[in-house]
């Protein structure tokens, strides 16, 4: 179950979420220059990435996302 989703169309690659995630779930992908969820199993749904994203590209949910 994934609790975090980053909309690759919206992400600007600023790295704010990569910097702030307390459990280090997100990484920059060099190929795309955007933030991607590298360790979805470690997301604690604390919302800090959502708060820090300047363009609302990140979404977390304690119920998880299908798929």
């Amino acid at each position: 179950m994934n609790f975090i989703r980053i909309d690759q169309m919206v992400c600007t690659g600023c790295g704010a979420c990569v910097e702030s995630c307390p459990t280090d779930v997100i990484r920059m992908t060099p190929q795309t220059g955007k933030a991607e969820v590298a360790y979805p199993e470690d997301c604690q749904v604390c919302f800090l990435c959502e708060f820090d994203c300047p363009v609302d590209a990140v979404l977390v949910s304690p119920r998880g996302f299908p798929g």
Partner: protein, 579 residues
């Protein structure tokens, strides 16, 4: 073994929650060079920003005696020290206000609400207008502005000692750590080290499976490091009531919700306890209103009877609901995103037993200067035995201890000369920290994690017994001896998790040992084989230390019979839980 990441400083702070922030800022104000190491990102890591968004603070005009009384309901708290801590919360609140922490205000003045957990009949809780995350970012900005050097994403793994030994007979001179992304070793040499690494939680517990807590990587790193280095630990048996939402990791927010008078109801609609003081089903709990262990124990009783328990705030006014959303954004976002509407729905809450979560419990035994038993090593916050010194909340106590630790460490380093560092110990600690990366045919993180989860759910349930605790202790010792050295990690991210899991095991062993030793029930410690609160034998501190020969030494220290401590009425009474 090192690749050039070596830092030397006067005061080294490890951990970036409220205790670490205050330690760093106050040591800097004393003129010391300060470095702060965080295994995540200072300002976004730790428990503080994720907590209840309130800061119980004394204000001039308050009844100080009532404050002290609320903090000292057991003889195990030093009253004079609690009084000093309570007075200091006002200064720290005002400083945080100057530093840009946003408080709920009226007419330019900070307003306070009633405090859940305090039991005080007057308003105590200053409220963060944009929640804990804003508070921590303001503290981060202040620390950086004052010249604190911050190193993020380095997980400290072992304390350096002047004699190169662990346990040491010398002093603590820094720490070795590993970068959680690059896997590169880091060395920090320091004249004084302040540990503010938070509580022990069963790390990375699966959501909704009973063991919860945020952040999920609060794995007792500091407590384990101190234990390995030979520091005396205290209050390890009093983990504290882990009364929380059962479906999520988020904080319970009871300092805020309890203060506003939320209720707990069971699935028959019965009011279990009202934190606003109404007589509920368990009157003993109502008598001790606001005290987390009583709440938690009443909920355990309901759970044992097969009933579900819900937090009920449907009677809050629209204004109160708006306030809660503002002050506790993470918790309220969690509820909302999960489909709960706090104004209409009950939220499932439950309790896990204290030993699985040293939230309000033990750690380094501190003296009045926030020194541990090891020279050069200070500690503050939830990795110590003093986090709840000022009232039933962690943030005020942790901030005051952090400030004291920083100030005292800042003064201590003035008299220190060169830092004696043993190169072979640096290599040994680095090797140890990186070892799981080199294990090919070992045990996986998942295997050990599942084993621990089984022990926690089968043997360390809400109600404890000597038989179960003995079994759990034996199993933990077996894991420590056999599984930990063979744990493998594929890459640096997994390495940080593996090292965290190791730390949890290292810290959990003395916690189980002191639980087994304390032959009574008290607070959240419920022993079916010893159901009495026994002030005749057990109004004492149980402390422990790893000896030079590697053995675990446990002993009791009496509560001093002085004016600083509550005089104990020596009697045995059955713990209310067993009535």
């Amino acid at each position: 073994m090192t690749s050039g990441h070596e830092i030397q400083t006067d005061v080294l702070v490890i951990g970036g929650g409220i205790a670490g922030a205050f330690a760093a800022i106050k040591a800097r104000e004393k003129g010391a060079e300060v470095a702060l190491v965080d295994k995540a990102f200072f300002g976004r890591s730790g428990c503080s920003g994720l907590a209840s968004g309130v800061y119980g603070a004394y204000m001039p005009g308050d009844d100080l005696d009532a404050w002290i009384k609320s903090a000292c309901t057991t003889p195990l708290v030093n009253r004079r020290l609690a009084g000093k801590a309570i007075l200091r919360t006002y200064d720290l609140l005002m400083e945080m206000d100057q530093w840009g922490v946003k408080w709920v205000k009226e007419g330019g003045k900070i307003v306070r609400e009633f405090g859940g957990g305090s039991g005080l009949p007057f308003r105590t809780n200053a409220m963060m207008a944009e929640g804990g995350p804003q508070m921590m970012m303001a503290l981060r900005g202040t620390a950086l502005g004052k010249g604190v050097e911050v190193v993020n994403r380095v997980m400290a793994t072992g304390l350096l000692t002047s004699d190169g030994e662990r346990p040491t007979e010398g002093k603590v001179v820094g720490v070795v750590g590993v970068h959680t992304r690059s896997g590169e070793p880091w060395v920090f040499k320091a004249k004084a080290t302040v540990l503010t690494t938070g509580p022990y939680l069963f790390p990375y517990a699966p959501m909704g499976k009973g063991f919860y807590g945020m952040p999920i990587n609060a794995s007792a790193d500091g407590i384990a490091m101190m234990f390995q280095a030979g520091a005396v630990l205290g209050k390890m048996e009093f983990g504290g009531g882990s009364l929380r939402p059962t479906e999520f990791h988020c904080a319970p927010a009871l300092e805020m919700l309890g203060g506003l008078g939320c209720r707990f109801v069971n699935d028959r609609g019965e009011d279990i306890i009202s934190t606003a003081g109404r007589q509920g089903k368990y009157s003993h709990a109502a008598e001790m209103r606001g005290r987390r262990s009583a709440l938690s124990n009443a909920i355990v009783k309901e759970m044992k009877a097969g009933r579900r328990v819900y937090l009920d705030a449907t009677h809050f006014t629209p204004e109160q609901h708006r306030l809660v959303k503002q002050v506790v954004p993470i918790v309220m976002n969690t509820f909302e995103r999960a489909g709960y509407d706090l104004s209409k729905d009950g939220i499932p809450y439950g309790s896990t037993f204290a030993a699985t979560s040293g939230i309000s419990g033990g750690g380094a035994r501190l003296n009045e200067r926030c020194e541990t038993s090891l020279p050069g090593l200070y500690a503050a916050g939830n990795c110590t035995d003093g986090a709840y010194i000022s009232m039933g909340q962690a943030l005020p106590g942790s901030s005051v201890l952090g400030a004291w630790a920083g100030e005292n460490a800042g003064e201590y380093v003035r008299g220190c000369g060169d830092i004696p560092v043993d190169r072979s110990q640096i290599e040994e600690l680095t090797r140890e920290a990186l070892a799981p990366l080199g294990v090919a045919q070992g045990v996986t993180y998942g295997e050990v994690h599942r084993k621990l989860q089984r022990i926690l759910s089968e043997d360390v349930d809400h109600v404890l017994s000597g038989t179960n605790l003995t079994r759990a202790l034996e199993e933990i010792r077996q894991i420590r001896a056999e599984a930990l050295p063979r744990l493998k990690a594929a890459e640096p991210h997994e390495l940080a998790k593996v090292n965290g899991l190791k730390n949890f095991v290292v810290a959990f062993e003395p916690a189980l040992a002191v639980l087994l030793r304390r032959k009574e029930s008290r607070g959240n410690v419920l022993r079916e084989d010893y159901p009495e609160i026994d002030d005749v034998e057990w109004a004492r501190f149980t402390v422990c230390r790893k000896e030079i020969d590697g053995g675990l030494k446990l002993w009791e220290e009496p509560v001093p019979e002085d004016d600083d401590h509550l005089r104990v009425e020596r009697r045995k009474v059955v713990h209310p839980f067993f009535l």
